[in-house]
Symmetry: C2
């Protein structure tokens, strides 16, 4: 498996990958638009080959799977390039900027019988596996309400703030709140979505608050903010109890099931990481291998349909708060 | 001060009142539609006079202030009756079923120079006084987001469930979540309200989730449910920190200001109460006395404008989720 783009998420992902058995996951090559960056990245992580173009990387016959960590607006074209060269692909979230782009990639992957998965790492964590199992076994009865907030005072970070970089707080961190809602309700689409939000000077959202109406009395609330630090907790509430995923819910090492604490320790990553609990990124790499060795082109944990559902709801939320990307036309 | 209707809230209110100095607050009379109930209530609480009609009570020259605890649809007519006899009045929340009715009462009270206040008891608690002071002194910087949930698995309680009784979960408990939002934003009206909800077989709401957009980047989320027990916490989030009002937020004895715990103990009431922390109801009685002895017909803590703002937002939320009372026409 290899990495494209040498930014912070890629660094963390590769650091997490390096703690896995080397006979199962090999870092073959890294590519970046700037060869020097790729070489420096390769040096830090002990990767044999470094390329200054993505074409070189996807042409490398030793490369089997590509991890795409380029900026959001480049996901679509980069993944297309990877798939067109017959390589499997793991794409940093969001899969693309909208449902249309995501569906296009899914169609290509299916046509070429290639593996495609959105790297929404929460889904693959042992803590989330525990949560899903608790819901399925009825430990909290019927789920009626889900409440999740994710807010960090990071409004000035370019990646979030700039529309040209596919920015928007919801796209970057709000997606994790939506993911919990979708997981808790079995990736079902809500009957109704209502959202409000505030845009920054570049026309992308700095905050979004949204409510969801599901069938049979079910509801969900989410809030995201780049202005203030919200609780960053998730509450999944059922007729017989509650699952609380405390801060940092998106990469949880703790889960309260009916007030009983369950812990899920993260091992250290190979290098110092940029984000909290990044060694947990290894679970998505393990999932890619598990799927490929069993001949699957789609993960059951993060199926195409889940990515499509996420993208569809993100499109609707952006529409309601007034965030539009060029590719939406 | 006297009590009308001998239901649970009135019992708790009078039990709380009885721990106040008897030279400041005297229980003169109680009235109920059923004389026997009034007599039994009078016996329990040591009240000298019991009436089987409200007309007798409001005609009693010893009565100065009336506490109205009748069912929601009867607030409007009962308060009108009280005001027409020149008595001051404290009305159990909600003031009336909608903004129109509430404004009507305010106009009558002002015309007669009589005191009128909605007994939304949270507002008068020492814990809420502490919260408001923390916000005003900038202890959490500029408030950007408010998040409150109130859910109890009480869907079958008639008072909540029946439209004829002015039911609806939001009217009964959701009002407390809205109150926190309004208090945190200085009783300002939001620019936008979006709500979803589910109705029961009688056409009133069993759950409501709503989001609010305020000017200058501010947002709020609330959730209420009669189906499941929600966290029942309030989070007021600012640029410099967070105020967390833990369960039971609506009658809080604890407040976390930037993670530091502040406690506000409740004394025992005179009798065993129906609801949690009911001795705190004494603070609204103290506020009535404070206003009357200083010649005020309106409280600064719960001014008419705050009641009007609450009613207006409740009307809009009901409109969006499809709850309509007969008096809305």
């Amino acid at each position: 498996m290899v990495s494209i783009r040498v930014g912070n998420p890629s660094h963390d992902f590769v650091s997490a990958l390096r703690i896995l058995p080397s006979d199962e996951h090999q870092l073959v090559a890294v590519a970046a638009r700037d060869l020097k960056s790729a070489q420096e990245f390769a040096r830090i992580h002990g990767i044999p080959k470094a390329y200054g173009t993505y074409d070189e990387l996807v042409g490398d016959p030793d490369v089997e799977v590509v991890y795409v960590g380029v900026i959001n607006p480049h996901h679509l074209a980069t993944v297309k390039l990877v798939l067109s060269h017959g390589k499997h692909v793991l794409v940093e979230k969001p899969l693309t900027l909208n449902e249309k782009g995501s569906q296009e990639l899914m169609a290509i992957a299916r046509r070429h019988n290639l593996f495609l998965m959105e790297a929404l790492w929460s889904r693959f964590l042992p803590s989330y596996d525990f949560v899903m199992n608790a819901i399925k076994t009825g430990a909290i009865g019927q789920v009626y309400h889900v409440d999740v907030t994710f807010g960090k005072a990071v409004a000035d970070e370019a990646k979030l703030a700039r529309k040209a970089l596919g920015g928007g707080t919801f796209m970057d961190i709000g997606i994790y709140t939506l993911n919990v809602v979708l997981m808790a309700f079995g990736d079902e689409q809500p009957l109704e979505v209502k959202a409000v939000g505030h845009l920054n000077q570049y026309g992308v959202d700095e905050s979004v608050s949204a409510v969801f109406k599901y069938s049979d009395g079910r509801t969900a609330n989410i809030a995201t903010s780049a202005r203030v630090n919200l609780s960053c907790e998730a509450h999944i509430v059922g007729t017989k109890g509650t699952i609380k995923i405390p801060f940092p819910f998106w990469c949880a090492d703790k889960v309260y099931l009916n007030d009983v604490l369950h812990e899920f320790a993260f091992p250290p990553a190979a290098e110092v990481c940029n984000f909290v609990n990044s060694s947990g990124l290894r679970h998505e790499a393990v999932e890619v291998r598990r799927c490929l060795t069993s001949g699957r082109t789609e993960s059951e944990v993060m199926p195409h349909e889940a990515s499509r559902g996420l993208a569809r709801l993100m499109d609707e939320i952006r529409r309601q708060v007034g965030v539009k990307y060029d590719v939406d036309d």
